[in-house]
Assembly symmetry: C2
Homo-oligomer: 314 residues x 2
């Protein structure tokens, strides 16, 4: 980390960038770092591809966000981004800056940098920024703490995913002691459902059907339903878990009709079924307990085809 | 705590009891303490009012559970229980034991004991047992850690409720480092939905209606729907939040028809409405943002009456 700290100390103007479709970890990491760099007297600018999502509009530090109007920076710091492509239109800001730092916790990072810090054991890039801010001798104030807490709860699902480590909790303990409105943050991040998501959830519940003595749950969303609301990509997140979480279910299949007659299939298993194997039959892939694929045809026909494969391994 | 440790050291036979309808904190605290006392060479028995719920059947230490067949214990330790009434049929085991200890984190505890330890700042009784086991110089092994982690996530809603403290996280960090299957525990505790709850959720989504420009969400369950499934009390938990979590909603009303024409009303507010005030109009009560009441009449009539009161304070 010493190399990074030297690069930061030597720079005057600093640009901070993160991946497109920036989430709580990407934005929380960016704003907390910007706040810390500002405290150090640096001229810091955060460049984003899209506006800050409404559910994250409480994050402090948004005064550092600006439109890019040309120019070169002493240093560009890229956060939570494994590949140049994920910088979208801002790739040039990074590649044209005099010096470049990349800080990331993804396993497959292939960024070029003068200072590269990859820590796959970090649950969130926010955990790494926490350590960096401490190493820079900047006080973790309330505004920085709000950003880092948001970053960590986003990427750990509120300390629920397998990437949560003892260190995630130790950092959370320190952040909570900074008088942050943790309950409000949690409500914003986890407990706010959009109209379109509410509609899709209702349909998912309605369409839920069980097969093979309740061991397999199947639900779907038809293209007409999806088109009837202005559904965003993250509105579909977790819908496959409605079936997965039902008692007695081993495999959950969720089919989403992206175009008429073209379904995106999600598979989840609870205990023993290898759904990557099932997905591979339909030229898809994934992990043992979480996989995906595409399939074409009518709904009933597609469900039947996948159920036939599931039945073989139940 | 020294008094408690003395009482434990002096006892040979120890009974552990907790409240009826024992949840993750009650059972996790009981089994972890039993495991620790057993390690110390004590003759320990856990007495429960009901079988261990299926969602908690993974908790280690159930070999200490036994039916009460008379007899007096050197010491009875009562956990997470604020009132003798909540011991049900096991009140006599506590009152007839030679010495009694009560350990609890509820604010209103009125138990009599030779050793009384109440800590309202503890998020869960499990946090207190963690400290007690350490003070007894018993190693927090994997089995004890599974119980204590379950206790803490149950009472903090997975580190989401306002009772979560920096200390909750510090203890969680230590427990996670004991190689516990935290993801499996979280799935069991938070992500397993019964058939009856799934049905009630589906109906709650279907019946959701919005009023006053989307600021008020109302949903309901009719008696015939409730009777059509074997619904348990905790199947209704959180259903009022379906409306509360919808974007733009300030007040959520949920009506559950307990008997034909008799509704139990739940009110939740997000930001500014005092729902205790609204509940009091119907002789109910509660907190500013979470309150309840009873109301009799037809569904439409009841909804209209409550909406009239809500409209006044929107």
């Amino acid at each position: 980390m010493k190399n990074l700290i030297d690069l930061i100390h030597k720079a005057d103007s600093i640009a901070v960038v993160t991946h497109t479709s920036a989430d709580g970890d990407a934005l929380g990491s960016s704003f907390s770092l910007a706040l810390a760099l500002d405290t150090m007297g640096k001229k810091v600018t955060v460049f984003l591809e899209e506006p800050v999502p409404k559910m994250l509009d409480f994050l402090p530090g948004q005064q550092f966000v600006s439109e890019y109007e040309g120019g070169t920076y002493d240093l560009c710091i890229c956060l939570d981004t494994s590949d140049m492509k994920r910088l979208g239109k801002r790739a040039g800001i990074y590649s044209n800056s005099k010096r470049r730092i990349t800080i990331d916790h993804h396993t497959t990072n292939n960024m070029q940098a003068d200072g590269l810090w990859i820590d796959e054991s970090a649950s969130a890039t926010g955990e790494m920024i926490y350590k960096l801010v401490k190493a820079l001798n900047v006080e973790i104030d309330r505004e920085i703490a709000i950003n880092l807490y948001t970053a960590i709860i986003t990427d750990t699902g509120g300390f629920r995913y397998s990437n949560t480590t003892p260190e995630s909790h130790i950092i959370a303990a320190d952040l909570l002691s900074r008088n942050i409105p943790s309950v409000d943050i949690i409500k914003k991040v986890f407990d706010t459902i959009s109209y379109s998501k509410m509609f899709l959830m209702k349909k998912t519940f309605q369409n839920l059907a069980l097969y093979f003595d309740g061991k397999v749950a199947v639900s779907h969303l038809l293209n007409e339903d999806i088109k009837s609301v202005d559904a965003q990509n993250d509105d579909f997140e977790g819908l496959v878990n409605v079936g997965r979480n039902l008692e007695g279910v081993e495999v959950s299949l969720f089919l989403r009709e992206e175009q008429p007659g073209v379904f995106k299939g999600s598979l989840r298993a609870n205990e023993y079924v290898d759904v990557a194997q099932i997905a591979s039959v339909f030229s898809g892939g994934g992990h043992k307990r979480a996989a995906g694929f595409s399939i074409e045809g009518g709904l009933d026909e597609c469900v039947r085809k996948v159920l036939t494969e599931i039945e073989k391994v139940l």
